[in-house]
C-alpha cells in the first residue's frame, strides 16, 4: 500500500517535471495547432455541402491560369497571350496579373506530384486558402507577441482563425489573391516590427523578401509601402529617431524597391506613380535627417547652424531643379489621379456598379467582426498608453485600416487583422488583471490592504469575458455556415420539409456549351460571366471580369440594349456565334440580366450617347416596368426578347390564378408575350430557365431573283472621243 502510493507519486513526478517555460511552449504549440485546425475546418462548409469546386467568378480565371501554368511551365505562363478572352483583342495575361497565387498553387502541386502524391491541380486550388489561413494565424501570433506578449499573441491567432471578415475571402473554393495576401501582409509586418526592434539587416532583408511575395500576390501591397513610410515619418515627428530605424527603413526601401519591380505587372510604377512617392519622400528625408544627426554629434552648435543653412539652400535648389526638369519632360507623378478615385467611382459606371465597391454599413462591421469591433478601441488605447516604436506602428495601422474599411466593403478585409490583434491585446490585459493570483505578481499588495480585487469580482469578470468569447465563436461559425459558404455556381434552396433542392443550371449550360459547340465558337454575354464561361465551357469570350476595356464592354451593352436588327449588325462585326444570358423569372433569382440591364444601358450610353438613352427604357412616369405598361424600347430590345422568348406560354407557378408569363423576380406579368426572333434561334435553355443560350444565325443567302428581274437592259455602246495617236 505504501509502496504503491510512492510508485504513483513517482509516475506523476515524471509527467509533471518539466519547467514552466517548457509547458508554456508546449501549450503555445498546441493552441496554434488547434487554431490552424479550427480555421481550416471552419472553411470547409461549401466543400462538404456541395463538392470541391471553384466558387464565384474571379477564382475561375485564377484557376484557368494556374492550370495553364501547371501544364505548360513557368515561362509559358509568364509570356502567355490569351487570345480566347476579349475577342478580338486578346489579353496579355503575363503582364496584367499578379502571379503569386498561381505560382504558389503551381509550386505546391509540383512538389506534391514530385513526391508521388498525385493531387489534381483543382484540389490544390480549392484547399489553398484554408491552409494559408493557418499560416496567417501563426504570423498574427508572432506579430502580436512582438507588440505585447505571448498570451495576446495566442488570442490574436485564435481570433483571426475564425473571424468572418477574413473567412469571407478565404473559404475552400475561393481561390483568390486575398487568400495568400493576408498571410504575406501579416508576415511582412511581423518582420518589419522585428527589424525596427533589433536594427538588424538580416531581419530587414527577410522583410524585403516577404514584401516581394506580397507584391507578387496582391495589388494591396500599396498599403504596406505607404504604411511603413508613414510609421517612420511619425516616429521622426515624435523624436523617436534611432539608428535602428535608419538601418531598417533605408535597407527595406531600396532592396524592396528593386524587388517589387521584378513583377511584370508592377513594372516601373514604384518610381512613377503617386502612390509610391510617399515612400521615396520619407527615404530622402531620413537620409537627410541621419546625416544631420551625424554632423550634429561632431560639430558645435554655431558651426552646425552655418552648415545647416548651406545644406537647406542646396537642398531647395536641387528640388527646384528637379521639379523644373520633370515638368519639362512631362513625367510628373500624377497626384490627382489616385486621390480622384473616389470621384471616379461616381462618374465611371463600371467602377460604381461593382457591389463590392459600395460604402460599408454598420451592419457589415458587426456581422464581420462581432465583439472584436467593440473591444478593439480598448486595445488601441492600451497601445497608446504604453507607447513604444512598434505600438506606434499598430496604432497607425488601425487608424488607416478603419478609414479604408469605411470607404469600401471590400476593404473590410484589411481591417480584420488589426482588429483581431488589438482586441487580443484588450482581452489579454483584462485577463491578466482579473485572472491569476495577486500574491504571485511582481509587487503583490500588502496583507489586509484595500488594494487587490476580491475573488468575487474577479470570477464574475472572468466569467463574463469567457461568455463573450463563446458567443463570438458561435457567431463566427453561424456566419460562415450561412453567409459565406455559397459557391454561387451552384444554388441551393430548401423545401418546406427541409430537403434540399439543388439548382445546377449554370454548370449544365456551360457543359452544354463545352460539348455541343465548335471549339472556336465565340460566346457573347455580360462581363460577369466571362471568367466562368472561359473556365468551365472553355470557349472564347468577348468581355470578362477583368473589365480593362470599357468601350468593348459598351459595345456588348449596346448590342443587348438595341433592337434585334441593330444588335445583329454589332454581333456580325464581332463574329459572335452564341449569346448567353441569365434569366431568373422562373425561379425568382434576383441576380439575372434583366435586373442588371440598367447598368448595361448606362455603360453603353457612356460610349454611344446618340444611340442609347437611359430614359428611353423607363415609362413616362419614370418606372422600370417589364409588363404591358413598359416602355416600347425596353419591350423590343434584344435582352428583353432573349429573356422572355417562349416565356409567355409558360405556367410558372403551380397556382393557376397567376397568368402564364408571370415573372417571379419582378412580380409582373410580362408585356410582350408573342416574341419572334429573326436573327437568333434558341440553342439551349437550362432546366429552370436560368441560363439561356441563343445561336446567331448566319446571314441568309440573297433571294434568287425572278427571271424577268434578272434581265439587264442592254447598255449603250460607248465610243471614245479620244484620238488615238499611233
Amino acid at each position: 500500500m505504501h509502496t504503491a502510493h510512492v510508485f504513483k507519486e513517482g509516475v506523476l513526478d515524471i509527467f509533471f517535471s518539466g519547467t514552466p517555460a517548457g509547458w508554456q511552449s508546449l501549450l503555445s504549440f498546441t493552441i496554434l495547432f488547434l487554431a490552424w485546425l479550427a480555421g481550416f475546418s471552419s472553411r470547409l462548409f461549401a466543400v462538404i455541402r456541395f463538392e470541391s469546386i471553384i466558387h464565384e467568378f474571379d477564382p475561375w480565371f485564377n484557376y484557368r491560369s494556374t492550370h495553364h501554368l501547371s501544364t505548360n511551365g513557368f515561362y509559358e505562363f509568364l509570356n502567355w497571350f490569351d487570345e480566347r478572352a476579349w475577342y478580338p483583342l486578346g489579353r496579355i495575361v503575363g503582364g496584367t496579373v499578379y502571379p503569386g497565387l498561381m505560382v504558389t498553387a503551381g509550386l505546391i502541386h509540383y512538389l506534391l506530384n514530385l513526391l508521388n502524391v498525385t493531387v489534381h491541380i483543382r484540389d490544390v486550388c480549392v484547399f489553398l486558402a484554408p491552409i494559408f489561413s493557418g499560416l496567417t494565424a501563426i504570423s498574427t501570433f508572432l506579430l502580436t507577441r512582438e507588440l505585447w506578449n505571448q498570451g495576446a499573441g495566442l488570442l490574436a491567432a485564435c481570433f483571426i482563425a475564425i473571424v468572418p471578415g477574413y473567412i469571407s475571402r478565404s473559404v475552400a473554393g475561393s481561390f483568390d489573391n486575398e487568400g495568400i495576401a493576408i498571410f504575406a501582409l501579416q508576415f511582412t509586418y511581423y518582420l518589419w516590427v522585428k527589424s525596427v526592434k533589433t536594427g538588424s539587416v538580416f531581419w530587414t532583408i527577410g522583410c524585403c523578401l516577404s514584401y516581394f511575395y506580397m507584391v507578387s500576390a496582391w495589388g494591396g501591397y500599396v498599403f504596406i509601402i505607404n504604411l511603413i513610410p508613414l510609421h517612420v515619418f511619425v516616429l521622426l515627428l515624435m523624436q523617436r529617431y534611432s539608428r535602428r530605424l535608419y538601418i531598417a527603413y533605408s535597407t527595406f526601401y531600396i532592396v524592396g524597391l528593386v524587388l517589387s519591380m521584378q513583377i511584370p505587372f508592377v513594372g516601373f510604377q514604384p518610381i512613377r506613380t503617386s502612390e509610391h512617392m510617399a515612400a521615396a519622400g520619407v527615404f530622402a528625408l531620413l537620409q537627410a535627417y541621419a546625416f544631420l544627426q551625424y554632423l550634429k554629434d561632431r560639430l558645435t552648435k554655431q558651426e552646425f547652424q552655418t552648415l545647416f543653412f548651406l545644406g537647406v539652400s542646396l537642398a531647395a535648389g536641387v528640388v527646384f531643379l528637379t521639379v523644373i526638369y520633370l515638368t519639362y519632360t512631362g513625367e510628373t507623378p500624377n497626384l490627382p489621379d489616385s486621390v480622384c478615385f473616389r470621384y471616379a467611382k461616381i462618374h465611371i459606371p463600371i467602377i460604381a456598379s461593382v457591389s463590392e465597391h459600395q460604402p460599408t454599413t454598420w451592419v457589415s462591421f458587426f456581422f464581420d467582426l462581432h465583439i472584436l469591433v467593440c473591444t478593439f478601441p480598448a486595445g488601441l488605447w492600451f497601445c497608446i498608453k504604453n507607447i513604444n516604436d512598434e505600438r506606434v506602428f499598430v496604432a497607425l495601422y488601425a487608424i488607416s485600416a478603419v478609414y479604408f474599411a469605411g470607404v469600401m466593403v471590400r476593404l473590410m478585409l484589411t481591417l480584420t487583422p488589426v482588429v483581431c490583434m488589438l482586441s487580443a491585446i484588450a482581452f489579454s490585459s483584462v485577463f491578466e488583471h482579473y485572472l491569476g493570483d495577486d500574491m504571485k505578481r511582481e509587487n503583490p499588495p500588502a496583507e489586509d490592504s484595500k488594494e487587490g480585487l476580491g475573488p468575487n469580482i474577479k470570477s464574475i469578470v472572468t466569467m463574463l469575458m469567457l461568455m463573450l468569447l463563446m458567443m463570438f465563436a458561435v457567431h463566427c461559425t453561424w456566419v460562415t455556415s450561412n453567409a459565406y459558404s455559397s459557391p454561387s455556381v451552384v444554388l441551393a434552396s430548401y423545401n418546406h420539409d427541409g430537403s434540399r433542392n439543388i439548382l445546377d443550371d449554370f454548370r449544365e449550360a456551360y457543359y452544354w456549351l463545352r460539348q455541343n459547340t465548335d471549339e472556336h465558337a465565340r460566346v457573347m454575354s455580360w462581363w460577369d460571366y466571362g471568367y466562368q464561361i472561359a473556365g468551365m465551357a472553355n470557349r472564347t469570350t468577348l468581355v470578362d471580369n477583368n473589365t480593362w476595356n470599357n468601350s468593348h464592354i459598351a459595345l456588348v451593352g449596346k448590342a443587348m440594349s438595341s433592337n434585334e436588327s441593330a444588335a445583329y449588325e454589332i454581333m456580325k462585326s464581332l463574329d459572335v456565334d452564341y449569346v448567353l444570358i441569365i434569366f431568373g423569372g422562373v425561379i425568382g433569382y434576383s441576380g439575372d440580366d434583366i435586373n442588371k440591364f440598367l447598368w448595361m444601358v448606362r455603360i453603353a450610353e457612356g460610349e454611344h450617347p446618340k444611340d442609347i438613352r437611359e430614359s428611353d427604357y423607363f415609362t413616362p412616369q419614370g418606372e422600370f416596368r417589364v409588363d404591358k405598361a413598359g416602355s416600347p424600347t425596353l419591350l423590343n430590345c434584344l435582352m428583353y426578347k432573349m429573356s422572355y422568348y417562349r416565356f409567355g406560354e409558360m405556367q410558372v407557378t403551380l397556382d393557376f390564378r397567376t397568368p402564364p408569363g408571370f415573372d417571379r423576380t419582378r412580380n409582373a406579368e410580362i408585356g410582350n408575350k408573342d416574341i419572334r426572333l429573326k436573327h437568333l434561334e434558341e440553342a439551349f435553355t437550362s432546366e429552370h430557365w436560368l441560363v439561356r443560350i441563343y445561336r446567331v444565325k448566319k446571314q441568309e443567302n440573297r433571294q434568287a431573283l425572278d427571271h424577268k428581274l434578272r434581265n439587264v437592259a442592254a447598255k449603250q455602246k460607248y465610243t471614245s472621243k479620244k484620238v488615238c495617236i499611233a
Partner: protein, 113 residues
C-alpha cells in the same frame, strides 16, 4: 559667411581624421567610391537617355543599395554605437552585410535584362 563655412568644413575634416578609427575610414572610402560610381551612372543616363530603363534602374539602385548597406555596416561596427547594438557583434554585422549584398545583386542581375 563663405569663409566661416570653409573653416567649419576644414575643422570638421581635421576632427574626422583624428577621431575615426582606420576600420571606419576604410568603410568611408568605400562609401565615397560607391557615391562616385552612382553619380557617374546617373550622369551617363542624363547624357545618353533612359533606354533601356530597366538596365539603368538596376545599376543605379544597385549603387544606392550598396551605399545604404555600407552605411548600415558602418553604423553597426562603430564602437561608439555599441550601446544600441548589444546583440550584434561586428562579425554578425559583416555577415548580414554579405547576405544582403547577395540578395541585392541577384535581383540586380535579374533586372538588368
Amino acid at each position: 559667411m563663405s569663409s566661416s563655412v570653409i573653416s567649419v568644413i576644414s575643422r570638421f575634416l581635421e576632427e574626422y581624421n583624428s577621431s575615426t578609427s582606420t576600420k571606419l575610414k576604410v568603410v568611408d572610402a568605400y562609401l565615397l567610391y560607391i557615391l562616385l560610381t552612382g553619380a557617374l551612372q546617373f550622369l551617363y543616363c542624363l547624357l545618353v537617355g533612359t533606354f533601356p530603363f530597366n538596365s539603368f534602374l538596376s545599376g543605379f539602385i544597385s549603387c544606392v543599395g550598396s551605399f545604404i548597406l555600407a552605411v548600415c555596416l558602418r553604423i553597426q561596427i562603430n564602437p561608439q554605437n555599441k550601446a544600441e547594438f548589444l546583440s550584434t557583434s561586428p562579425e554578425r554585422a559583416f555577415a548580414d552585410f554579405l547576405f544582403a549584398h547577395t540578395v541585392l545583386h541577384l535581383v540586380a542581375i535579374n533586372f538588368v535584362g
